[in-house]
Amino acid sequence: MNTSLRLLTMVCPALAWVALLAAQPAIAQVEKPSEEDLAGVQPAFQNLVRGRSTKIDQGANGRAAARAGGPPAPQAPPPKNPSTSLRDLRGQWGAGGFGAGAPPAPAAAPAAAPAGGAAPGAAPQPSPASGNQGNYVNALAGKVVNTQFDANRMCLYTPAFLFNGGKFYQTERELIIVNSNELRVRRVHLNAQHAASPVPSYNGDAVGRWEGNTLVVDTIALKGSLGKIGGNVEDGYHTLLLANPTLHVIERFSRNVDGSELTIERVIDDPMGDKPVFRNKTTLRYAADTFNNETESGCEDFGDAFGPAYVGEKGQQP
């Protein structure tokens, strides 16, 4: 597998992540980088940005792997978390994507279909002529939209609760998830209370408590751009939701007895917005400890390709 392809396999898991810049002036840069933008960028990253992608095959550990062809590898027995404690969530957990374990439940309070998207809960539809710009505007207005926007070229920050698998570490004080996608880190403070005045962050103010053998994680004070909360990964359409400080996310993590699966049930509510309550369920599979170093650097070079969108106006460098 050549370097370009391997870089693609590293970044393409971001198909499970959809994001747009919160800064409106950066949109044009984000959606269609010019050749000038790409000048001097590493060839592998140019290929990434220009979309020379391949079919994505989600690996057993949740990280996408591009296959060049050939017969499928023989199936090995699935690994399991060796701990007998159902409160031990440590290990590598992966899935086919955020929300891939079950389709989104029908919206509790359906909103009107926005001009740039589709009604919540509706089957994915092709993006309208207004394109991503329209979707972005609609989402900014607090409306759920469907879009064909391809976030794997973006490397933008999304709320940390949006993850499709990763390495779980657990201490007395924290559950720490090192996301398989771009190694982004999520922290949940265990047996703690929300801060009195939490500062909005990509991680949010996330606290967890045990209800029996279920870890209930309550997250508030989120910031970030748009995150995919559902939809059909295969056809490239994603349901978008604008993460904002009023968003309230409740997740219930529960491990099965034999340690092979971890189920996450999510309820996402925006009490200050007009979006419906979103619910979904994801099942992650336990996997052996694996790591591909290429996960490290793909998006770290994004500043070279999208410097203007990344750090400010075009031509402005720090």
Binding site: T3, K167, Y169, V178, R187, N293, E300, G303, G312
Partner: protein, 248 residues
């Protein structure tokens, strides 16, 4: 006397009840599903949050000398110190090691498991992943943190790093290295676990006239890491926090 014995019997009986209760509870905890006690991770425990004990603007050898730079590398170093080459940290590029550990205002956290150890840096939420295995894999790198494999030698974690990206600096001052650098890091706790000692062995024939070592000591921190997004600091021109104010 008999009253005293009676009191003693009461105390003994109560103690037995407490002991039985503890044993029952303990048995349920160890055999049940509601345990919150986690089995220790494999290997000696070096996990925790660590931070450099004192500011270190320039990395020196273990003997307190300037690293043995070759002439060409010395010129590169001089240019960087003169500000003729942009600091990659100013573009939020991953710092690589050892520089990432030298950001004295920025703690890092070691998390460990049997197959993998992660070093999480607060600075721009960087993560250095070490795969616990003896041999490097094929076709790896270059990467900012290099390709890293680790193993235990007694109570010491030995990390073997190859294929680093040569644009990263070894320290804040701009100490250079090549893409052919081979670095071995040896980490172990000292002072009853209150400190972490890291010995860096750097072998880079393209940059240095001979292999050299640096030894750094970090102090255990009681705090947790916080979220830091470098590009957002750039947007508000918070340059000082990029390099601890060492540079203007």
């Amino acid at each position: 006397m008999s009253e005293s014995r009676g009191m003693r019997d009461v105390v003994l009986g109560a103690s037995l009840l407490v002991l039985v209760g503890v044993l029952v509870a303990g048995g349920r905890r160890s055999g049940g599903d509601d345990s919150t006690a986690l089995a220790p991770a494999a290997g000696p425990d070096i996990s925790g949050v660590w931070q450099l004990a004192a500011p270190l603007p320039v990395l020196m050898t273990a003997a307190g000398q300037e690293p043995p730079l070759l002439p060409a590398a010395r010129q590169v170093y001089a240019d960087r110190k003169a500000g003729k080459e942009a600091d990659p940290a100013a573009k939020c590029k991953p710092l690589g090691e050892p520089r990432a550990m030298l950001q004295d205002a920025w703690p890092f956290q070691i998390l460990q498991s049997a197959g993998r150890i992660d070093i999480l840096y607060q600075w721009n939420r960087l993560v250095h992943v070490i795969t616990m295995k003896d041999q490097h894999g094929p076709e790896q790198g270059p990467f900012y943190f290099g390709e890293s494999v680790g193993h235990w030698e007694g109570d010491t974690l030995v990390i073997d790093v190859i294929n680093p990206r040569d644009e990263s600096w070894l320290d804040v001052s701009g100490l250079p290295h090549s893409a052919d650098m081979h670095m071995v890091e040896r980490l172990h706790t000292v002072d009853g676990g209150r400190k972490l000692e890291v010995r860096f062995s750097i072998d880079d024939a393209a940059t240095y006239s001979m292999p050299w070592e640096a030894v750094l000591t970090f102090e255990r921190q009681a705090t947790l890491l916080h979220e830091d997004i470098c590009i957002e600091r750039l947007k508000i021109n918070d340059y000082a926090s990029l390099d601890n104010g060492i540079k203007p």
